[in-house]
């Protein structure tokens, strides 16, 4: 089949746009990756250099010795893992009640959940800082875990409520006629069916916990409690930036999530887009 001139022009534009977009997104990663192998001399040459002259693979060994990277990773993992667990444990019964039960004040509650999504922690940092001081949770990973769970709660509840609403009542009712309590019917029947939604919600909370930055920036002062992002931020000193650590640590910090993505990719895009449009 012979294509028209317009069609061929369209294809050219299509390829051009796709590649330009990918190039812009990949560019900072490429810069980080290339620079993470440079030595100081090449990194700070004026004008700048594109490629490392000698590829210093040992940079990735040295960074573990020079910087308490392992502590940073451990702290980020604590925030992400426990923040996700707490968030989901609270969101499952909440989402279930909103999807399945009739009760006074339901409408108000639904709009409250939607509204809290509008309150980003960023615009209330003074309030958060003062309240956390009052609770004695400044300089504590527990505090960050609680905040990550709380500020992702509305999103998780909303997504789960939508998931539960799509699951048929019949199986659950059958189980209850057979003498199951509401709780055990939910755990045995509804939760397995809602697994895709739950995994999607957990993934997003986990990523937001791992990438959390602003809350720990204002609440964590102790160097031993730094998350990976705070650790990277600490390389920006008063005397100049220790870029050689920034790049290595940045590349390493994305690896856990990338691995996670590799496993869940297909599943994720589906779950996200479903939530995105309904949201």
């Amino acid at each position: 089949m012979k294509h028209s001139k317009g069609y061929r022009l369209g294809r050219v534009v299509l390829y051009l746009f796709a590649w330009l977009m990918s190039l812009f997104i990949l560019y900072p990663y490429l810069v980080m990756l290339l620079n993470s192998f440079k030595d100081l001399d090449t990194m700070f040459r004026i004008p700048g250099t594109l490629l490392p002259e000698i590829w210093h693979w040992e940079n990735y060994v040295n960074i573990w010795k020079d910087v308490p990277l392992l502590t940073y990773f451990r702290n980020s993992a604590v925030v992400a893992v426990f923040g996700t667990l707490l968030c989901i444990v609270c969101a499952i019964p909440g989402g279930y009640a909103l999807a399945r039960m009739q009760f006074p004040g339901k409408k108000t509650l639904m709009s409250l959940v939607v509204m809290t999504q509008m309150f980003s922690p960023v615009v209330m940092m003074v309030g958060i800082y003062r309240v956390m001081s009052a609770y004695g949770l400044v300089n504590s990973l527990t505090g960050i875990v609680l905040l990550v769970a709380a500020f992702n709660q509305a999103f998780a509840v909303w997504l789960l409520q939508g998931t539960f609403a799509t699951i048929s009542h019949e199986l659950e009712e059958a189980a209850r006629i057979d003498g199951c309590s509401r709780l055990s019917a939910m755990i045995r029947i509804v939760l397995p069916l809602a697994a895709p939604g739950i995994v999607t919600a957990m993934t997003f909370v986990f990523i937001s916990g791992w990438n959390e930055y602003m809350l720990s920036l204002i609440l964590i002062g102790d160097a031993n409690l730094r998350t990976i992002n705070l650790g990277i931020r600490a390389f920006f000193g008063y005397t100049g930036t220790e870029w050689w650590y920034v790049f290595g640590a940045s590349i390493l910090s994305t690896l856990p999530i990338l691995a996670f993505f590799g496993i869940l990719q297909r599943h994720l895009t589906g779950g996200l887009t479903a939530g995105g449009v309904k949201g």
């Binding site: 746009f17 977009m21 990663y29 004008p47 809290t116 615009v123 003062r130 204002i218 990719q265």
Partner: protein, 303 residues
């Protein structure tokens, strides 16, 4: 009479039974009340109180914090910057994401690769991306200058972050690049939900590419575009890491938006009260946006 009493009793019992739902809701409510709502209330309290540099609240019922805030010479600039930041990033990102979604909805060689690239930014924190761009845009050893010099496009290094205008523009570019992936995915899922029947019918009627785009795709994509705009206005308005990392307001506090200025006021100048006052200003701005949005929605629904 007796029946009515019975009915009332049954209704009451039903009410009590219904209240059991709150047992299920309790964990969620506890988290939201203790860690979201309480800080919101605290922001209100602090904004109208005298606060010492040690963050102690002295006296409630004063407008001093607002007076201090409005008297800052950078304040008008912070507000206009916030509007420019939000409008420019959301508008340009919607346009580019729409094209990206249309492109990725076609079948072509390398589509899977481009879709995967679009997922990559999720794996990276905004701090990391911003740090990379800070290095890229550096005047002396920055990667962008190195690249442009090597390609022969410029003769000498450009000081991208030197002036407020240029620095802010470049940060908007970074903002657009980090906004596009999520938007594109939302719009792509909207596109995929449009039935093929429409297009087949249009082809039979001899519709051109532009006819299909403006008469079928865009009108049917409208709900997805609206959701995207609302969500992203909120996200972009609340964006913090890019400006905080790349310039933190420099030069001369001219590149702040509300969020980064909030941080500077509270945690660098110890002006907690003024920072809380600015939080309230930002609530008002978001509320105005919500009202304007609902108005246009209602107008559209009536039309």
């Amino acid at each position: 009479m007796e029946n009515e009493a019975k009915l009332a009793r049954r209704l009451r019992r039903e009410r009590v039974r219904q209240m059991r739902a709150y047992l299920w809701l309790a964990p969620m409510l506890l988290l939201l009340l203790v860690f979201v709502l309480r800080p919101v209330i605290e922001v209100f309290r602090v904004a109208f109180s005298t606060v010492t540099a040690a963050n102690l609240v002295r006296q409630f019922g004063t407008l001093d914090n607002f007076r201090y805030l409005f008297a800052q010479k950078e304040f008008p600039r912070v507000m206009t910057n916030t509007v420019i930041w939000t409008v420019a990033i959301v508008a340009l990102s919607v346009l580019l994401s729409l094209i990206a979604a249309l492109v990725l909805n076609e079948t072509f060689k390398g589509r899977a690769f481009h879709r995967t690239v679009l997922l990559l930014p999720w794996a990276t924190s905004l701090l990391v991306t911003s740090a990379a761009w800070k290095y890229i845009l550096d005047y002396h050893y920055g990667a962008l200058n190195a690249l442009l010099l090597r390609l022969g496009l410029i003769k000498s290094s450009i000081n991208f972050l030197g002036s407020a205008g240029s620095a802010f523009t470049w940060m908007i570019v970074v903002g657009i690049i980090v906004t596009i992936p999520f938007m594109t995915f939302t719009l792509l899922s909207g596109l995929q939900s449009i039935s093929h029947d429409f297009y087949e019918a249009a082809v039979i009627d001899g519709a051109s590419f532009w006819d299909k785009l403006f008469r079928i795709t865009l009108p049917l994509l409208r709900p997805a575009i609206n959701v995207t705009i609302v969500l992203n206005v909120i996200y972009v308005f609340n964006s913090f890491a890019i400006i905080n990392t790349i310039t933190n307001g420099a030069p001369a506090n001219k590149t702040h938006t509300i969020t980064t200025y909030l941080y500077t006021l509270a945690f660098q100048k110890q002006k907690y009260g003024a920072s809380a006052a600015l939080s309230l200003v930002s609530f008002v701005v978001l509320a105005v946006f919500a009202v304007l949005y609902m108005r246009t929605q209602m107008k559209e629904d009536n039309a």
